[in-house]
Symmetry: C2
Subunit: 341 residues, 2 copies
């Protein structure tokens, strides 16, 4: 933003007509003389005119911009979801503004404020694992700003959501472990307040119970932090007395499962012979790591698109809108980190 940018006023003066006529011509209003319109368009071209969306937004009280908050852009699940959103949003004339919370509650709050200050027309949020208090998001709802939660959602918020059936995915994954002979299956999860982790834990527990396996509290791990703690916890589990050690690890997600697989390789523990590993998400590396990782795949790109669709529906009919939850399908991808049936 500097000088030298032509405005409708410049066009109006050059053409010796009023700025309202220019404005009309530019926006293709019907009640404008063809000749005038042509002249305006030509002059705009000549002056390299670029509409000022900032001024427009202020006037029409819409920015045609959507805000997105994700924990970490560079995780493939999120960049892929963003990519889906971006494509869908662009098709409907929306730009997107992106923030990352880096799994920090404070940063997430700041992000929300920043995007609200920018008067985005809607917010698409995947919550940080740290977030339990959802007042900052609730306040958006109170201000009538459409919010769509995706993947990392919260029960406490009456908003549109895009999720996969985490319970079902976890159930299938755990059942697969059981069916391939595992009995002491550990769950490596996130904080106790982390909704998505709890859903997956419930699926895991239900699968155990369904197959008459009594859950062992010792094998259920809640990590407060998702980068280094999971590895520590796995090491701890592996140092338990032989009979108490797990014979399978069901990890909250692939970004946890992949390093776990590497750790096991370092320790010369054979996968899946000695221990099976299952992840969740299906990050690209998971197919390539040796052994390839059995995981529950989520349709990240489609989830992104869907989130935009839900926003659009909601924004068309803000007054009588009831929060919908779109549940997408997961697929259990059986690869080589689990035993054959």
């Amino acid at each position: 933003m500097r000088n030298t940018q032509a405005t409708i006023r410049d066009i109006a003066i050059k053409l010796n007509i009023s700025i309202s006529t220019v404005s009309r011509a530019l926006r293709g209003a019907p009640d404008v003389n063809q000749e005038t319109k042509k002249a305006v368009l030509e002059m705009a071209e000549k002056l390299n005119y670029e509409p000022n969306r900032v001024a427009q937004s202020l006037r029409i009280k819409r920015t045609n911009t959507l805000g997105i908050i994700v924990p970490e852009i560079s995780l493939h699940f999120f960049s892929s979801a963003i990519s889906g959103m971006q494509e869908e949003a662009a098709q409907h004339g929306y730009s997107i503004m992106i923030c990352q919370s880096l799994e920090s509650f404070e940063t997430e709050k700041q992000n929300v404020h920043m995007l609200a200050a920018n008067r985005v027309d809607g917010l698409l949020i995947s919550m940080s694992s740290e977030t339990k208090d959802v007042a900052h998001i609730q306040s958006l709802i109170n201000k009538n700003i459409p919010v769509v939660l995706f993947d990392r959602v919260s029960d406490a918020l009456p908003v549109a959501k895009v999720v996969v059936d985490d319970h079902d995915g976890a159930f299938k994954a755990t059942e697969h472990l059981i069916q391939t002979g595992c009995r002491r299956i550990a769950y490596i999860g996130g904080p106790l307040t982390f909704y998505i982790s709890n859903q997956r834990k419930r699926g895991y527990l239900d699968a155990l119970l369904h197959h008459n396996i009594i859950p062992d509290e010792q094998l259920i791990v809640h990590c407060h932090e998702l980068h280094t703690e999971p590895l520590e916890q796995v090491k701890r589990l592996l140092s338990l007395p032989k009979t108490q050690q797990p014979d399978a690890l069901f990890c909250l997600n692939d970004p946890i499962a992949v390093p776990v697989l590497q750790l096991l390789k370092e320790k010369n523990i054979r996968v899946p012979e000695e221990i099976s590993v299952v992840g969740f998400t299906n990050e690209p590396v998971s197919a390539f790591i040796e052994p390839s990782l059995t995981t529950v795949s989520q349709p990240s790109h489609e989830m992104g698109k869907k989130a935009i669709e839900l926003f659009l529906e909601q924004s068309h009919d803000l007054d009588n809108f009831t929060p919908v939850t779109a549940t997408m399908k997961t697929t259990l991808l059986v690869r080589n980190s689990t035993r054959k049936v």
Copy 2:
């Protein structure tokens, strides 16, 4: 953007003072009575006031927003660069707006227009492989909008750039292939107008010449499209008469090299015994694929940060600014897709 958002006017009325005083208090101007200031801040809090950056931007002619255009968000190199930018930008009070060109010139042009219309304070661009005409970017420069090109840059543009030494990286990679006994080394590159590809090709050629190997035109491939064509071309090379077949493939980047590696596996061609493969970029999968991919790594996150730094320098001193090019270090990561020395 809907109703119910408090403005400084609301605060002024409630407190029975002028809006300029409110404005001053809110921005922490020095010449405001402590009491007044306190009252304003409290009232702002109470009304859930959120500054309107749209109005601010229009008035001060700066948006504190940066535009980013990348070919594809979900490629790790780009999402990682974006992540670096986002973190650095946030520290300096900038928001970011993201577009993807999807390797389409037309889309890239549209992106530029959209971001210009949004009056971003600067643009960070990694050009599509299709882009040869750079007039759309030149026009930004003419309008005094700071532009920083990163990774996918163009020679024709006098702007700040963040690159790696592509020539050097390619030279090292090719030399490594030669030193491990390869003689018929193919280059799988991009379009002839694709700057980065040409740089890498030159590094490749210079390495060959340096080692007295006469380049074979037949082994130098230019793909117009980067998703499916490279595989076709490799298949073609593999169907040449035995003596004309390559014994190594140096690929423009990892997103090409990885599928190539898979193709070779399908065809039961042993890597690196029968043919060596080298990539460029170092995507996360490259370390995990079997055999792991020898590649030239680029510091994506740092390149992103650096790009923001260059923007900041430039925007501080727009008038007498000379375009700098920051060249970052690459590292040859020798893994298992090439033979041992």
